[in-house]
Amino acid sequence: MNELQLLALLPFIVLAMASVIVILLIAFRLSHTVIQVVGFLMMCLVVFATWYVKDTLPKEIAPLFIVDGQAALFTGLIIFSVLVIGLFSYIYFEEREENPKEYYILLFLATLGAAILTISQHFISLFIGLELLSVSLYALIAYLRNRNNAVEAGMKYLILAAISSAFLLFGMALIYMETGSMKFAGIATVLGQAGASPLFLMGLGMIVVAIGFKLALVPFHLWAADVYQGSPSPVTAFIATISKIGTFAVLLRFSQIIHLQHYPLVIIIFSVISIASMIAGNILALRQQNLKRLLAYSSIAHFGYLLVAFLPGNEAGTEAAIFYLIAYAITLLTAFGVIILLSSRQREADNLNIYEGLIWKQPIIASILAIALFSLAGIPLTAGFLAKFFILSAGVQQAVWLPLIVLVLTSVIGLYYYLRIITTLFSSTVSTESMPKTIHPFFHISTYITLVIMAGLLCWLGVFPGIILSSIRTFLLLH
């Protein structure tokens, strides 16, 4: 490993240091605020580092990692999300009596895991990234152990994640058995010569189980709603965004290198999974009264949509998927931000009753949530629309008609429950639930402002996606 390679890993090293620094800060008994601020600065540093190393890309750190434009994009998105989640976490945890400090260690470790996934090109780095992410998440989910059935959620996630890890490992072992390489490129070479054996495909199928579990795709989606509901809201946001972005990044890289889409079996499996996810996710959400569960179901459907962009396996699909993830991450973070802002010490703001007539009481918050929901529903003027548009466009280009039609029809079903929440927001009977007092004015206001900015971002992306699109293209060319 030479200096340039080390330089390319700089953002990840900074990220890893963030956890260490937080440990040190805790050791020095510094306050939550300090940790928050330092964490924030560290994340900014990561962004800065990413920017700094941008020109040296792409760089391969053989055999485990490859840092290229695509990885930088995903890492950037992950860091952006963790910045926002970190900010949201402050008011959320400060209001609760548990000690919040160790939370940041876990948060940054999990982020590191997701970030490693984006640059991994080897089974070992994949495994390490995924486990780093998972194990940190077990603890994160159950962090507020006395509340909200967090432990139950944590246990469920743990057991299922461990089973899926076992599948992943067994799948990897089978592939290794067949090809003699754990590096994606090496596998691809062997495949190019010998073709895919049944055992290899079996291994692939087992890997799909693990990926499907992480992305909460049908039929591996059953945990999603329970875990979303049971986790602290910032952690839910983390699971919904960062964990899935990381997993999708590695799936994308794996498929790009191995040319997964050349195998009809894979196409069929992913088509079926995608269609099933779109249908099941949207239908499950139809009558859901719990906002967090509802978002879980909606994210199942959304990753079904995302797979439609993944199916064609072309450049447009990749672009569309990345744009989709950006739009999706901003949207979901906005939605969870609103939930966090409305939650109080006594209760999570996850029951829809709380949102009745919110627009007349807190117009700005409610508008932000409405924008986020419109974006999820894919209505124009919001990023969600363009995201869906690009997915459709990628799908039409490769003529994958069946998933496209299902996408269209199920997103209409989805419209129903988004509209249901929106009408709740706009209903004329105003909920009598009292709103929490603002305890920490600075962080409260900064959360508020962040939400406004993100909502603005959603609209801006929804009308002028040009800049983002072109930068996605520039980054993707770095490989």
Partner: protein, 102 residues
């Protein structure tokens, strides 16, 4: 080692894996579920070792080390959770943990 031999061991690993999965499905006690998962992980580890042996590479064994480390980390978190569950619910029966549902 011949490849036939490798495949035989692989079958053993697969049987172990299925056993573990069956255990995870059938057992209601959390501890036993965790044990079953350990069996599954070790089955995967065994497969790696066999594969490494087949290709005459150390990678399989390295991987096994990683698996061990990960399993340890996982179990430590899991046992903490088990303690909490026992503390809160006075039971380790997973079927009693059904607060979160539709």
């Amino acid at each position: 080692m011949s490849s036939i031999h490798a495949h035989t061991v692989l079958i053993v690993a697969a049987i172990l894996f299925v056993l573990g999965l069956a255990g995870a499905l059938i057992r209601r006690n959390v501890i036993f579920m965790l044990l079953s998962i350990e069996i599954m992980l070790n089955a995967a580890g065994l497969a790696f070792v066999v594969a490494g042996a087949r290709w005459q590479q150390p990678d399989g064994q390295i991987m096994y080390l990683f698996i061990l480390a990960m399993a340890a980390a996982e179990v430590s978190v899991a046992l903490a959770l088990v303690l909490q569950i026992h503390h809160q619910h006075k039971t380790l029966d997973i079927e009693q943990l059904k607060e979160l549902k539709d």
